[in-house]
């Protein structure tokens, strides 16, 4: 598959502060990639360098075959951008805003069709100032899509949203996959990255600390599966060979790298002496645990 974005040794310094510290990255055409990281990790700096909004200190960057810093305006025909924060022009209706934007491209989509794509067709005649937060974000996406780009940048598309608005936005971003677009999104929500992206790149302190699918990331970390239950105070203690610890809430917890054998031993013991295992739970490490572990070492920003 062809490469949409290629980055080698990308570095950005502001004085002594290193915002991006030698990032290597490749994004294939049609891939949905998430930049996951805390605020200040270097996500926005990186994406803005790829978008051609910022210059860089060093490194090679190629986006759709061009260096964003030197690309001609025609390069932008094929790129759609949803900024982290932007408002539509308040005096225009949603439909007019999309038509104005469509006029900037040589071969735009039909503005009405674009509004339908993001589910805003019923608000086409509404002034943008009257739109809700979620509707404004959909308009942002419509404005990014009306030029019919093959590559779409989404900088924190759901930050500040309530859960239902987030779900709605996720639906739209998933629709981009069906349209065959290459998507690069930034987020600091683990579940968002897990839900939307084919591949996740975890950024901390301007470096890539891990990358892969959600599952690969989980496997990469030595977080162990946790088997736990809440024994009654009258229950006999499990044998020491199981290695159970009781935490302050009274839950018995076994950390294990082989949950099958641990479970087998635990349930055999319980059946043998006839104690129930109330609230028995087996938890794989969540992406959140993985993320916290990956970004924990030495990061304060």
């Amino acid at each position: 598959m062809a490469t949409a974005i290629g980055v080698k040794g990308l570095t950005m310094r502001y004085g002594d502060f290193v915002a991006v510290d030698g990032i290597d990255l490749e994004v294939a055409e049609g891939e949905i990639l998430a930049f996951l990281g805390a605020n200040g990790a270097g996500k926005t700096t990186t994406i803005e360098i790829l978008e051609g909004f910022r210059s860089r200190t060093s490194g090679q960057v190629e986006v759709l075959g061009q260096d964003p810093e030197e690309a001609p305006l025609s390069w932008r025909e094929d790129i759609g951008i949803v900024l982290q924060e932007s408002e539509p022009v308040p005096e225009l209706t949603a439909g007019e805003a999309v038509r104005m934007q469509a006029g900037y491209y040589l071969d735009p989509l039909d503005p009405g069709e674009t509004l339908r794509l993001v589910g805003l067709e019923e608000s086409a005649h509404q002034r943008t100032r009257k739109l809700s937060g979620g509707q404004k974000r959909r308009l942002d996406l419509a404005l990014a899509l009306v030029g019919n780009p093959s590559l779409v940048f989404l900088d924190e598309p759901t930050t500040g949203f309530d859960p239902s608005a987030r779900r709605e936005s996720w639906g739209m971003i998933e629709a981009l996959r069906d349209l065959g677009k290459t998507v690069l999104l930034t987020t600091h929500y683990m579940d968002e990255a897990e839900h939307l992206a084919d591949r996740i790149v975890v950024i901390g302190n301007g470096r890539i600390v891990a990358q892969g699918t959600a599952k690969q990331l989980a496997d990469q970390v030595n977080a162990q599966t946790r088997v736990s239950w809440k024994p009654l105070t009258t229950d006999p203690r499990p044998p020491d060979r199981l290695g159970a610890q009781v935490d302050e809430t009274g839950r018995a917890i076994i950390e294990t790298s082989d949950s099958l054998i641990t479970l087998n031993a635990l349930t055999n013991w319980a059946i043998e002496i006839g104690v129930p295992l109330p609230e028995l739970n087996v938890a794989r490490p969540t992406l959140e645990d993985v993320y916290l572990e990956l970004t924990s070492d030495g990061s304060s920003s």
Binding site: E87, V89, G103, Y104
Partner: protein, 249 residues
């Protein structure tokens, strides 16, 4: 592409109540108020008193349509991320900026026509055919230079909220010392001298020459055009050097 953007910019102007009030309605209200307060007698030389006011009111309308509007609109667009989004599209940035200046020019022409007609019909203010070309040139140089002034102002305005305050804090005193509200024959010399440093008084004087009922021939106020043009060029250079596309946060 510039026609596309211009048609939207004019639509946005029409839909903005503050902009239309200060640019279209307020100058007309001032014209009515001034002629009511000071009367519209016929002077000894046969001209109407309103002849003295019309150029001032026109100055107010042109400066408002260009400098004030451009400064407020462009600052708001910058702070709302509209400019940054436009920069992410294939439209050349200068087209977007030029369109904003052009829309000020179009509005200034419309206001010139309205004020000239109102002055003529209600207050008997004559405009000689011979001075129309000089009026148009004043309009062209004035609108372009004051649009550049508006763009230059955005470089010192930090936020959307500050835009109307900063713009008015600069423009209102200028109107008073530039003979727009008070004829410069009525103010102390030093006020006129200070006013003459700024372009507003020169636009006012250039327009006065066009509306001078005793003008002999075409009236070419070269000196005033020169001062306005120099201000415009300096402001254009400041804009080229310092104009920002990204929000100030």
């Amino acid at each position: 592409m510039i026609r596309h953007q211009l048609s939207f910019d004019l639509l946005i102007f029409r839909r903005n109540p503050a902009a239309t009030f200060f640019t279209v309605v307020l100058p007309l209200i001032f014209l009515v108020i001034f002629t009511s307060i000071f009367g519209n007698n016929t002077l000894d030389n046969g001209a109407k008193v309103a002849t003295l006011y019309v150029p001032g009111i026109l100055t107010l309308a042109i400066v408002s349509a260009t400098a004030v509007n451009v400064a407020i609109t462009m600052t708001a667009r910058r702070e709302r991320g509209v400019l940054k989004r436009v920069r992410g599209t294939p439209i050349p940035p200068w087209v977007f900026v030029l369109s904003q200046a052009l829309s000020g020019f179009v509005i200034a022409i419309v206001m010139t026509v309205i004020i000239t007609i109102v002055g003529r019909v209600f207050y008997g203010v004559e405009l000689q055919l011979a001075t129309v070309p000089s009026l148009l040139i004043s309009l062209l140089i004035g609108a372009t230079s004051f649009a550049a002034l508006g763009l230059a102002l955005t470089t010192i305005i930090p936020s959307e909220d500050a835009a109307p305050a900063v713009t008015n804090a600069i423009m209102l005193p200028l109107y008073f010392i530039s003979g727009v509200f008070v004829p410069d024959t009525e103010v102390p010399d030093w006020v006129g001298t200070v006013g003459a440093l700024f372009p507003v008084s020169h636009l006012n004087k250039a327009l006065q020459e066009s509306f001078n009922p005793f003008a002999e021939g075409a009236a070419w106020p070269w000196d005033h055009w020169l001062v306005i043009g120099c201000w415009g060029i300096v402001c254009a250079v400041i804009t080229l050097k310092r104009f920002r596309w990204s929000p100030n946060r």
